[in-house]
């Protein structure tokens, strides 16, 4: 699976979300490619106005919040 965290540089929430995601992916041995995209026009193109944007396989799952690790784990594993 392909996970993209959208957020501009300087947004600490967004960096943190990417790190949490990587930790969740590692812990559960999920075959996922986690990347961060700082291009905000891409986020706008998806109609999102609040950072971070969280996308799994080109589907925007949530935006504007940073869920806790266990919640994030649930979100990711249910899409496996």
């Amino acid at each position: 699976m392909k996970i993209t965290v959208y957020g501009p540089s300087g947004c600490s929430n967004c960096t943190q979300l990417k790190e949490t995601t990587e930790a969740v992916v590692d812990r559960n041995d999920i075959d996922a490619d986690v990347t961060k995209d700082t291009d905000m026009t891409k986020l706008a193109a998806k109609g999102i106005m609040s950072t971070p944007g969280f996308e799994i396989d080109d589907e925007m799952v949530f935006s504007g919040s940073t869920p806790a690790a266990d919640e994030l784990e649930e979100i990711i594993t249910e899409r496996l």
Binding site: G7, P8, S9, G10, C11, S12, N13, T38, D39, M40, T41, L43, A44, A45, K46, G47, I48, M49, S50, T51, E59, M60, V61, F62, S63, G64, S65, T66
Partner: protein, 309 residues
């Protein structure tokens, strides 16, 4: 106030005298006061903000033109405690949704320039009068800049992009979810601001204890001081709550109010890191014009208040 008593107790306990005592008292008192107010206000506003996600703000502004739209954008800019990095997606979302360009610029300008926590901290620091001036001039400058850039056709310098429809549902959160969201958001904002507050109060304390009034009198009291304040303030990046204690102690040493106001507003409204972020979505012509109109507005306000007050 209890913070005042505590600060006095600390300097007494340390047996400090003279300038060091004044500086230490200023440091302890201002740090406690600003952090306490900051925590309360930010938490309160982030909770309220859960009722106004950017999508709703955009919808409020949609279809509004002329004065109402600009004014509403300025007011929404005041109450939005977004970090500077999140104003860009909001700006793009507004432009993409067809909100008039000038109105989005007003929102973009007022959002960092007028800060809701600053409005609560300022009355106890520089008085109600200066606080009101700060708010009114910020709104005026933001509205004028948005209007001017719109009239001059600067909307052509925003990067082209397709604005899509989000597939994300916006369900109404429960009270518990709102509180949680406010807690996470407030914590992040406060942790981000604390270093600036402490550095700002530190600089303010040094000025308060050690800077000779004569120096302010000689170099900063004339109208040229306003130009200096804007030139130094524009590229500088710090939180407005870090500037307040510096301006507070400078005004205490005889800095003219207009100069203090101009410094505070130019530091808050514009900065080099912000230009780098804007560069990603705007052409340099627009950034220059944006910075130019805001700086000119701040300069005029500073000069005016120095003459009038």
């Amino acid at each position: 106030m209890v913070f005042d008593q505590f600060a006095t107790y600390v300097v007494d306990a340390l047996g400090l005298e003279g300038a060091l005592r004044a500086a230490a008292h200023f440091f302890v008192y201002d740090t406690l006061k600003i952090l306490a107010i900051l925590t309360a206000v930010i938490f309160g506003v982030t909770y309220l903000r859960t009722y106004f996600p950017p999508e709703k703000i955009r919808d409020y502004l949609d279809g509004k033109t002329a004065f109402t739209g600009y004014f509403l954008a300025a007011v929404l800019g005041i109450v939005s405690p977004f970090c500077s990095c999140s104003t860009i997606p909001i700006f793009l979302g507004m432009v993409g949704a067809g909100i008039p360009f000038g109105i989005t610029i007003t929102f973009l300008a007022v959002s960092p320039m007028i800060n809701e926590a600053a409005l609560v901290v300022l009355p106890s620091v520089v008085g109600l009068e200066l606080t009101a001036l700060y708010a009114v001039s910020g709104v005026t400058i933001g509205m004028t800049s948005g209007y001017t850039l719109n009239k001059l056709g600067f909307d052509r310098y925003v990067d082209d992009f397709e604005f899509g429809d989000s597939g994300v549902d916006l369900d109404e959160p429960t009270r518990r979810e709102r509180l949680e969201e406010a807690y996470v958001e407030a914590k992040e904002i406060i942790l981000e601001i604390i270093p600036y507050v402490i550095i700002g109060v530190g600089v303010g304390a040094l000025i308060h204890g050690y800077l000779p009034e004569q120096l302010v009198e000689t170099y900063l009291s004339g109208q040229w001081g306003v130009f200096g304040a804007v030139v130094v303030g524009v590229p500088m990046y710090t939180d407005i709550l870090g500037v307040i204690p510096v301006v507070e102690s400078l005004i205490g040493k005889g800095l003219p109010i207009g100069t203090g106001l101009a410094f505070m507003m130019s530091v808050a409204a514009l900065s080099l890191p912000q230009f780098m972020i804007l560069k990603k979505v705007m052409h340099k012509e627009l950034i220059a014009a944006y910075a130019g109109t805001l700086a000119t507005g701040i300069l005029l306000i500073g000069l005016l208040f120095n003459v009038v007050l």
